[in-house]
């Protein structure tokens, strides 16, 4: 059957142009979604079962949840996550922003500084925890060094103080992540519209004013990404704590991931561990939901003001 010249190829090409993108777009999206959904669903399911050493899909009701909520390790872990999370995120954001602003002042040796601040993120958490464990140890680390230098009244034994050990973890965490925050903020600062900056300068705005009105709004999207990165670091903190304090003097620096690992794998209580994991993720919703609503409100505000 002879077709009109060019008619078949065009139709075929149009068909292809419609199907092919679908074949390419959907698989990775579907896989990425399915992974999150299935793994979460499986964990939720197991948390309602009687699983111990291996998954055992018999129903166990809310038993695991009540057991974990009543468990001292779990309660301590949550308090610690809150303290550590808030301090870690706030300090890292502050230090990162501070360093970015300082470097942005056209300092000499910027490359060297930037490399120095950034390298810690390349190191694994286990190493960070181990080395900071040595440094913060009063008998062999900083306190001892200062004593040897003559100032014997100096005290820096937070690591072995059950009420202060958590701050040592904050220090190590900030050390590791603030360079990354700095790098992202620096990128944001560098991409601020030069024209806007010039306009502000012409208007005679002070440096602080300029930052507040022009710079910070521009780096808003970067801020969101940095926040997400830091939150997920905080929630998933495990290796750092294990290497630094092994859960702290006694149980005082235990965190939810340690409780999850401990119950799931050390004690052979998969269901209890899963319940702890589900509750960890739910607590995340407590943080993310308000943020999501806030973003929604902002977008609506911007739309109103723009229109």
């Amino acid at each position: 059957m002879r077709a009109e010249r060019g008619a078949v190829p065009t139709a075929w090409r149009r068909h292809r142009d419609r199907i092919l993108p679908q074949l390419v777009i959907w698989p990775p999206l579907v896989v990425a979604c399915a992974y999150v959904l299935w793994f979460s669903a499986w964990t939720v399911w197991v948390s309602f079962t009687r699983s111990t050493l291996l998954p055992d899909y018999r129903w166990a009701g809310l038993r695991n949840y009540t057991a974990m909520l009543a468990n001292q390790n779990f309660q301590l872990a949550y308090v610690n996550l809150f303290i550590y999370g808030v301090l870690f995120v706030l300090l890292t954001l502050t230090v990162g922003l501070l360093l970015a602003v300082l470097i942005d002042q056209r300092v000499r040796g910027e490359n060297v500084f930037r490399a120095l601040f950034l390298y810690p993120i390349a190191v694994s958490f286990v190493v960070t925890g181990t080395v900071w464990g040595w440094l913060l140890n009063p008998s062999i680390g900083i306190q001892k060094l200062v004593h040897d230098l003559g100032w014997t009244g100096f005290r820096f034994d937070w690591l072995v103080d059950r009420n202060r050990a958590i701050y040592c973890i904050v220090i190590a965490g900030v050390w590791q992540a603030s360079g990354f925050a700095m790098a992202l903020f620096l990128a944001g600062l560098r991409s601020v519209d030069a024209d806007l900056l010039k306009a502000a300068e012409i208007d005679g705005a002070s440096a602080w004013r300029t930052y507040r009105r022009v710079v910070f709004p521009t780096i808003g999207p970067i801020f969101a990404i940095v926040l997400v990165m830091l939150l997920q670091f905080a929630i998933k903190t495990y290796d750092l704590v294990v290497a630094l304090t092994a859960g702290g003097p006694g149980l005082s620096t235990t965190v939810p991931t340690i409780v999850i690992y401990d119950f799931m794998f050390q004690r052979g209580e998969l269901a209890r561990g899963s319940a702890a994991a589900v509750m960890l993720l739910l607590s995340l919703a407590v943080v993310l939901l308000p943020y999501g609503l806030y973003r929604r409100w902002r977008t609506r505000q911007d739309a109103i003001h723009a229109g």
Binding site: L53, L54, S139, D157, A165, A246, G250, D262, E269
Partner: protein, 438 residues
């Protein structure tokens, strides 16, 4: 050949292709070797353990070499890290349907894990080797949770061992080890007065648990057995446990102020210099000292204080559990491995490397590879066995399954690191914790 055509056609009109197939199949059938008999198969084992380095790694490597010398094929998969990582790998292999031929496991976990995957019945082999008679009853009991041998102990350690730094001992004029807790406490006070930190232990969870259990074992092995191994409520609420908490509080107070979260090896330099005096640790510390370049003459070694003067032995051991495998080469390998482990000369081969005690009480320890410390500990084990004064370690997951042990250790480690918890409160918390997981 009397078979159907390879392509299954039954009509008389056999196509040329299938005739060729017939011929090929026939030739192939002739080429297949006759089914190998079990004892013609090369024995093979896959082993999972956490022993990737140090003396443990060296010992299991030596075992592997011996296995290969006897004609076997040895495949060891060390999982670096703590025991939990090894158990993770084991769990993953079991879920994946491919358990190793043998894996490290210990204590009540042997019973727990044997329920989730099929294990090999070793009764015949054990009977043949006459093994049960020469192994401590506690270990035999752990190895046969349902009455059949499914695991074999490899090595034993004494937990309640006391090491005193020679230099520290000299500073307070100490010439022999304190025999009771009262004597120990007196020595500690003397050391403190002389500016020596009395206790060299670290402050991680198992170390904290060990301090308490050594105290309790020294106060009363009978109370230990009832409270820790049988979880008897009366014993847990009893005076011996309270006394153990009191002694543990003393031990914590006498430790280095920075000991929280530290591994005891961190204190070895100062211990050898005589700035810290006494270490309550398992027999493996000997190997650690040796590794650090210290001599036997740098420390005094012996049993930890026993208030009633008779020997008691706080036992820790490692075992191999054998998982059921269908393939004949693995079955042969398991038989070979079991044979090697049960032999009389296994102890001298393995334990001289790790510094542990051979499991067989009839082992000849006069070989030069053994140290006096090992000989003394082995003798203690044999004696204690006779008097039924062998107890199982709590801190090293021998006395109770992991859930129970972990709950108890949580209480103990919190007690050690929180001075605000009084011994009475500590005991109450322990009782509560046990009730929660009973």
């Amino acid at each position: 050949m009397g078979r159907n055509a390879a392509d299954g056609t039954e009509s008389g009109n056999i196509p040329a292709l299938s005739r060729r197939t017939l011929l090929a199949a026939g030739t192939a059938a002739l080429a297949v070797p006759k089914l190998a008999r079990a004892d013609e198969v090369k024995p093979k084992v896959t082993v999972i353990s956490q022993w990737s380095s140090g003396s443990d790694g060296a010992a299991i490597t030596a075992l592997g070499k011996e296995f290969e010398n006897e004609g076997g094929s040895w495949e060891h998969d060390p999982v670096p890290g703590f025991t939990t990582a090894m158990m993770n790998k084991l769990r993953a292999q079991i879920i994946a349907g491919d358990p190793p031929a043998a894996s490290q496991l210990k204590g009540p976990e042997i019973a727990a894990w044997s329920k989730i995957a099929p294990v090999v019945d070793l009764d015949a082999l054990v009977k043949q080797a006459g093994y049960e008679a020469v192994v401590p009853a506690e270990l035999a009991r752990l190895s046969k949770p349902e009455g059949h041998w499914i695991a074999l102990p490899i090595q034993a350690y004494r937990i309640n061992t006391l090491f005193v730094s020679k230099k520290a001992a000299d500073r307070v004029g100490l010439t022999k080890l304190p025999a009771t807790w009262a004597e120990f406490n007196a020595v500690a006070e003397k050391m403190k007065a002389a500016g020596v930190t009395p206790v060299a232990n670290g402050g991680i969870t198992w170390d904290d648990g060990m301090k308490w259990e050594i105290a309790l074992c020294g106060i009363s092995p009978a109370a230990y057995r009832k409270a820790v191994m049988e979880l008897d409520d009366g014993a847990l609420k009893g005076p011996e446990v309270l006394a153990a908490f009191r002694q543990t509080r003393k031990l914590a107070d006498w430790s280095d102020p920075g000991f929280a979260g530290q591994h005891y090896s961190v204190f070895i330099p100062r211990y050898m210099k005589g700035d810290i005096g006494m270490l309550l640790m398992g027999g493996w510390a000997q190997g650690v000292f040796k590794h650090a370049g210290f001599q036997f003459s740098d420390y005094l070694i012996g049993p930890a204080p026993q208030d009633d003067g008779k020997i008691a032995f706080d036992l820790n051991s490692d075992e191999f559990i054998f998982w059921k495998k269908k393939q004949p080469e693995f079955q042969a390998g398991q038989k070979l491995l079991a044979d090697i482990v049960m032999r009389k000369d296994f102890g001298p081969m393995y334990c001289t490397i790790t510094g542990s005690i051979p499991v067989r009480t009839d082992t000849d320890l006069s070989a030069p590879g053994f140290s006096d410390g090992q000989r003394e500990a082995a003798h203690a084990m044999a004696t204690a066995m006779g008097d039924n004064r062998v107890v199982l370690s709590l801190a090293h997951n021998m006395a109770q399954p992991n859930q129970v042990a972990a709950a108890m250790l949580d209480v103990l480690t919190e007690f050690v690191h929180d001075k605000q918890i009084s011994p009475e409160q500590g005991q109450k918390k322990l009782v509560e914790a046990v009730d929660n997981v009973r």
